[in-house]
Amino acid sequence: MTVNPGVVPQRSTVRAVDDRDLEELGEAAAEIQGRSPWQLAWVQLSHDRVAIASSIVIALITLAAVFAPLIARLVGHGLADQYPYSALNGYGLPVGPSKTFLFGADDLGRDVMVRVAYGGRVSLIAGVVASGVAVIVGGIVGLVAGYFGTVVDTALSRFMDVILAFPLLLFAIALVAIVGPSLTVTIAVIAFFSWAVVGRIIRGQTLSLREKEFVEAARSLGASDLRIMFVDILPNLVAPLIVYTTLLIPASIVFEATLSFLGLGVVPPTPSWGNMLSDAEAYYKVAWWFVIFPGAALLLTTLAFNLLGDSVRDALDPRYARLFKA
């Protein structure tokens, strides 16, 4: 049990210890609540202004994505609806932000705000699913490699080295060229190239954990390899796994947006921030809102996840140097 020193009552004067003091101490000790490392991390996170602010941003963006149809209903512009008369001016160019089109219109006369809200769905799904798969696969491979060591470790480690040596974006592009672009392919590609990073780290941690006494104890009690790996060792790896999930999410979101921007990710008419920015590229001179709003949504999301990931790492692993603290 870890005891938070901040909970111990402060004594203002120093006196000789007598019975009454001991009694008081006993009472104070009764008030001290043991806190698990998880509770401590939670306390630190809930006092962390950066973590709170970035969580709020993430929550707002998630809400906008989940309730995108509601937003569309409220402004009265459907996702695929085109407004050639109100959204395009006399030259056929999109109109800027106004009361009817809060974020302006795009080149086809659609509402940018509605599309940004729907685009958030793609980004969040790609980010969360791809990093989830990567962390699960990387975690299992790392655990197996680190636990069994010897030949298994060498084979798996070399395999991870090979994946890390691949020119990532080029292979993603080549793969898309063959199977054709879609959200599923995008997620699969991101997960395939991200799991090795996690695997390498988990392997290193498992390597040192398996020498610990509690593993020896479990083994002497007759626990199977599978039980030691998943019941005894895995809980000790939850902290790095959480940290890597929060840090992989923004990386996956950027990757998805990049593929969509190049026309190799999510295919129009489904809006994603990446393919919106790809359309906007041709119009940036006449329609700044077409670049700024999807761009801001994308940047805010990745920034918020990176800041949160940094705070989570700080709370779970105090040894790690903090990148940014307000």
Binding site: R158, D161, V162, L164, A165, F166, P167, L168, L169, L170, F171, I173, A174, L175, V176, A177, I178, P250, V254, A257, T258, F261, L262, G263, L264, G274, L277, A280, E281, Y284, K285, W288, V291, G295, L298, L299, T302, L303, F305, N306, L307, D310, A321, L323, F324
Partner: protein
């Protein structure tokens, strides 16, 4: 050292071999008809069969693989599906653009990242440190193509309409024709590519500088009365740079990926633009050649970085 070089080179060859198998399987064995793809949409069965024979696709797979690798090793990359230009010539004409972009960006990101990191580490938690860490996180979260679009909008278009056309809005000029125009056309792409990566380096340099500045030998150097500037730049920075070298090796792959994006945003006629165009044209020989060449580059460059690293830090050679 000799054994280390051999071990490292053998692993490089292994990686290249695996990549060759993966590329071959992806493009030639995968469940689709390459001959049909290459023959085009309107081809009839006789034409498809002719293409299949000319590519040797009717032979056993192992046979095909060996002759494919054999040709690769002799520098025969086949012919582009468009205009029947040898792929080798096509790549050779695009390479200088990508090389200019990548080298310039790498120099800027190293200079910018390392100096920002040193600046931040000299007075930790002070204003310079905070500014650097915030900027690092900001650019770290920034997708490369978004930064490119923003630079195009603000540094090109806004300046241009304000009557201050400092930077061109895209395109490329040969170094040999007009060195100044070359640099001018590349400044925005360089910074697009460099800023995103420099963020990682400032973070890395700051961390390792802080570690090193706490070492005993730095205290000794200071107590000898050496100027602070010399202590930081000569004594501390030298050993703080080792993790930066490792990271540089890792980032070479990212550099190529970034080049693909940057070239497409700024309309630079390099390998990255060619790669994306070739995908839309279904120009398989070109895609395959670019993937293979890029892999060779990354593997060879990684070996080079490892050798530099082993030279800097003798302990590495033993592991």
């Amino acid at each position: 050292m000799g054994a280390f070089i051999i071990r490292r080179a053998l692993f490089g060859i292994l990686v290249l071999w695996i990549i060759s198998v993966v590329v071959f399987v992806m493009f030639f064995v995968a469940p689709h008809d390459v001959a049909r793809l290459l023959a085009g949409r309107q081809a009839n069965q006789a034409e498809i069969d002719a293409v299949r024979r000319s590519l040797g696709l009717d032979r056993p797979i192992l046979d095909q693989y060996i002759s494919w690798v054999w040709k690769l090793l002799h520098g025969d990359l086949g012919y582009s599906y468009r205009g029947s230009v040898p792929v080798r010539d096509l790549l050779a004409s695009r390479l200088p653009v990508t090389a200019s972009l990548a080298f310039g960006a790498a120099i800027i990101w190293l200079l910018l990242g390392v100096s920002a990191g040193v600046l931040a580490s000299v007075r930790p938690r002070k204003i310079a440190d905070r500014v650097v860490t915030f900027l690092a996180l900001f650019f770290y979260s920034m997708p490369t193509f978004l930064l490119g679009l923003l630079l195009l909008y603000f540094a090109f278009y806004k300046l241009y309409t304000a009557g201050l056309p400092l930077f061109p809005g895209g395109g490329y000029v040969n170094l040999s024709e007009d060195p100044l125009g070359w640099a001018n056309h590349l400044i925005l792409p360089w910074f697009t590519l460099a800023l995103v990566t420099a963020a990682v380096y400032s973070r890395l340099t700051r961390g390792s500088m802080l570690d090193v500045l706490g070492e005993d030998y730095i205290r000794t150097a200071r107590s000898k009365g050496i100027s602070e500037k010399r202590v930081v730049l000569r004594h501390a920075l030298r050993s703080a740079l080792t993790p930066v070298v490792t990271q540089f090796g890792i980032d070479l792959g990212a550099l190529l990926g970034g080049a693909i994006i940057t070239e497409n945003v700024f309309g630079l006629p390099g390998l990255g633009q060619l790669a994306v165009q070739s995908i839309f044209n279904q120009n398989l020989p070109v895609i395959i050649a670019i993937v293979v060449i890029a892999s060779v580059f990354i593997v060879v460059a990684n070996i080079g970085v490892d050798l530099v690293y082993a030279f800097l830090d003798p302990r590495v050679r033993l592991t």
